[in-house]
Amino acid sequence: MKSYKEVFSEIDGAALIPFFVIGDPDFDTSLEIIKGAIDAGADILELGIPFSDPIADGPTIQKADIRALDNGITVVKSLEFIKKVKAHKDIPIGLLMYYNLVYQYGTEKFFKDFHDAGVNSVLIADLSIDDADEVVGPAKAAGLDTVFMVTPITDEERIKRIASKTSGFIYTVSLLGVTGSRNELSGRIEELVAKLKGLTDVPICVGFGISKPEHAAAVAAAGADGVIIGSKIVSLIEANLGDKEKCVESVSVFISEIKKAI
C-alpha cells in the first residue's frame, strides 16, 4: 500500500489532493469521477463519508452530503467504495469525517476495517488533539497514519503538540471559517506555512478556500507539501448533476489544470 511518505518524497513540488464526498451524487458516478481524477493526476485522495450534521462544512459540501445520503451511501458501502478506488490505482487515501460515525461503528473496528480497505489516515473534523487519546492509539494499532488540523489562530505551543501526534501530514486550514470556495486566497497562508515549517518536519498540506489554479500555485510556492481542493471540485459535480459524463470530465479537466499550475 502506497504511503504518504512515498508520495511526498517522489513529488518535486506540492502533492495534489482533491476532496470528494463518497457517493456524491451517487455511488457509481462518484466512483467514475474519482477514477477520472486519479487518471488526471491526483496524488492523494481526501474522501468524506457524509454526515447529517457537518458543522465544519459550508453549503457546497453540506449539499453533497445530502445528495450522497439521499442516494443511499452508508458507512458500510463506503468501505466497498474505497476498495473499488484502490483496485483502480494504489493511491493514498485520507478520510475526513465526523466523530459520531466512527464512534458508532466502534473506533477500533472502524480503523481496522478502513485500513484493510486501503485507507492511510482518518481525520476527524470534530476531534482535537485534546481528545486524541481516544483515537491515536487505535489508529496506530490499525496501522494508520494520523492527521490533525492547524489553523491560523493555533498558537506555537499547540502546533508543537499537534505535530508530535501527527504522522501523516498536518492539515493546515488556510482561513477562519468552514469549507467553501473563495474568490481570493487567504492572505495568511505564506506566513502560516513558514511558521509550521520552522516548527516541524511533518509534511504540511493546505486546504479550505483553494479554488483556482493560481491559488494552488501560490500555496505550492509558499512551500506547502500538498494542496487540498474540496468545495470547488464538489461544485463542479453539483453544476453537472444528471450528466454523468460531464461530471467526470469537468472534474478531470480541472484536476489537470491544477496539476499543471503546481
Binding site: 454526515f51 465544519a56 445520503l69 458507512v75 459520531n100 482535537s128 489553523t151 493555533t154 477562519l176
Partner: protein
C-alpha cells in the same frame, strides 16, 4: 483547555480545531469572573431589577386538586422575556461585556433564547445575530418579531430540518469564521465545554431559590422536583438545588411528540443512544450508523436530538429519572393549568405539567411536588389554537 468538561464520560469538547482557542478564552474568562465580586454584584443587580428575580414559588391549589397531590410552581414564566432563558443570557452577556466583546450570536428554537439574547444585546449595546430554523421561524413568529424589535438580525436557517439542531449547526459555522470578535451565547446546558458548566451555573439560581422557598413556605423539602428537558438548562438549573438531597426525586420530562413508539419524538434520554453531536458526548437520537435522525415535537424548544451531558450522567446513576410526554397530553396540560389557575404555560413547560397529570391518583395526597414553569405560553397560543380551537 484547563478542564476536561466531563460528566462521567459525557460532555467534552468535540469541536473543529479552529474553535479551541475561543472555547479556551471563554473558559478562562468564566473562571476569572464567576466568583468575582464586582461581576456578581452586577449580575445580581440585573437579575433583580431587570430580570425579575427572585421568582415566586406558587402553590397551585386548583391544579393540585385535580392531581390529588400538592403542586408548587416555580414561576420562571414571570422572568423578563417570558422564560428562564434570561438567567443565562444576562450571565453570559455580562461575561461577554467583561471580555470586551461587542458582537454576539445565538441559536434559538422556540425563540425564547433568541429573544433573551436580543434583549441583552439591546441592553448592553451589542450587535446581535440570531440563528433560527425556518420551521421554527414559522411556528414562533411572535418571538421573531420581538427579536427584530430589539434590534437583532434573525438569520433563517434552511439546512437540514430547519429546527434547533440546524440553527446550532449554522451558528457554529458562523462562529468558526468570526471567532476573533464574536461571542457565542449558547442557549442550553449542552454543547461543548465550557457551556454545560456555564449555563448550569447561571441557571442554578432557580434551584437555589426553590429550595429556600420550599423550606420557608412549606417547611420542608419537596418529595419531587419536575422540569421539562430540551437541551436541559431549566431542568439542570432547578435540579442543582436539590441534587444533594437524596430523598428528593428528580424527574425530567422530554418531548414524546406523537409517541416514543412511533419514532416521531424528541425524547433523547428516554430513547437515544450515546453519540457525539454539537461538541459533546451525550445521548443522541440517531440511526444505526450514527446519522442524526429527525425529531418531532409540538414545542420548538424541546425539538432537539441531543441533550446536556450532566443529564446523561444523572440518568445513568439513577439520581434523576427521565420520561416523555406526548403532544396530546401536553395540550391537555396547557389547557388545564390555564383553566384552573389562569396561568398560560409555554408548551415546553407544559410537558412537565403533563407528567404531573399522569401521576393523578398514583401519589399520596401529602406528596409535595415542585414543578419548574420554565416559560409562559404567549408565544404558543397560535399553535394551540390550531390543535384545540376555542369557540
Amino acid at each position: 483547555m484547563k478542564e476536561k468538561g466531563r460528566f462521567g464520560d459525557y460532555g467534552g469538547f468535540y469541536v473543529p480545531e479552529v474553535l479551541i482557542p475561543v472555547l479556551e478564552e471563554l473558559e478562562e474568562a468564566y473562571y476569572k469572573y464567576y466568583k468575582d465580586e464586582r461581576f456578581l454584584a452586577d449580575l445580581d443587580n440585573y437579575y433583580r431589577h431587570y430580570g425579575g428575580r427572585p421568582t415566586p414559588l406558587y402553590f397551585a391549589s386548583r391544579f393540585s386538586e385535580y392531581c390529588g397531590f400538592k403542586v408548587y410552581i416555580k414561576r420562571e414564566d414571570l422572568m423578563h422575556g417570558g422564560a428562564h432563558k434570561v438567567n443565562n443570557t444576562l450571565g453570559q452577556g455580562l461575561l461577554a461585556k467583561y471580555m470586551g466583546k461587542t458582537k454576539i450570536i445565538a441559536e434559538t428554537g422556540a425563540g425564547q433564547h433568541g429573544l433573551a439574547t436580543a434583549m441583552i444585546g439591546a441592553l448592553f449595546g451589542m450587535e446581535t445575530k440570531i440563528f433560527m430554523g425556518v420551521v421554527d421561524i414559522e411556528r414562533q413568529s411572535v418571538n421573531v418579531h420581538k427579536m427584530k424589535l430589539c434590534g437583532a438580525e434573525v438569520v433563517p436557517v434552511e439546512c437540514g430540518t430547519g429546527t434547533l439542531k440546524d440553527a446550532i449547526n449554522d451558528a457554529l459555522r458562523y462562529w468558526t469564521a468570526h471567532v476573533e470578535d464574536t461571542f457565542y451565547l449558547f442557549g442550553s446546558a449542552c454543547g461543548p465545554h465550557p457551556y454545560p458548566t456555564i449555563v448550569k451555573h447561571f441557571q442554578s439560581c432557580i434551584g437555589k431559590e426553590a429550595r429556600e422557598q420550599s423550606l420557608e413556605q412549606i417547611g420542608r423539602l419537596p418529595d419531587m422536583v419536575v422540569a421539562c428537558v430540551g437541551g436541559g438548562s431549566n431542568a439542570i438549573g432547578i435540579f442543582s438545588g436539590f441534587v444533594d438531597d437524596k430523598d428528593v426525586r428528580l424527574v425530567g420530562v422530554e418531548a414524546g411528540g406523537k409517541s416514543v413508539a412511533s419514532g416521531n419524538h424528541a425524547a433523547t434520554l428516554v430513547a437515544g443512544r450515546v453519540g457525539i453531536l454539537h461538541g459533546a458526548k451525550a445521548y443522541l437520537l440517531q440511526d444505526e450508523e450514527g446519522q442524526v435522525t429527525e425529531t418531532e415535537s409540538i414545542s420548538a424548544g424541546l425539538d432537539y436530538p441531543s441533550v446536556g451531558p450532566e443529564h446523561c450522567l444523572l440518568k445513568d446513576s439513577g439520581r434523576a429519572e427521565y420520561v416523555a410526554a406526548e403532544d396530546d397530553k401536553v395540550l391537555d396540560a396547557f389547557e388545564l393549568l390555564t383553566k384552573k389557575e389562569g396561568i398560560i404555560p409555554a408548551l415546553e413547560s407544559s410537558h412537565a405539567l403533563a407528567y404531573l397529570m399522569s401521576q393523578k391518583g398514583k401519589l399520596p395526597a401529602e406528596t409535595v411536588v415542585v414543578v419548574n414553569l420554565s416559560g409562559r405560553g404567549d408565544k404558543d397560543v397560535g399553535i394551540v389554537e390550531k390543535y384545540r380551537p376555542v369557540n
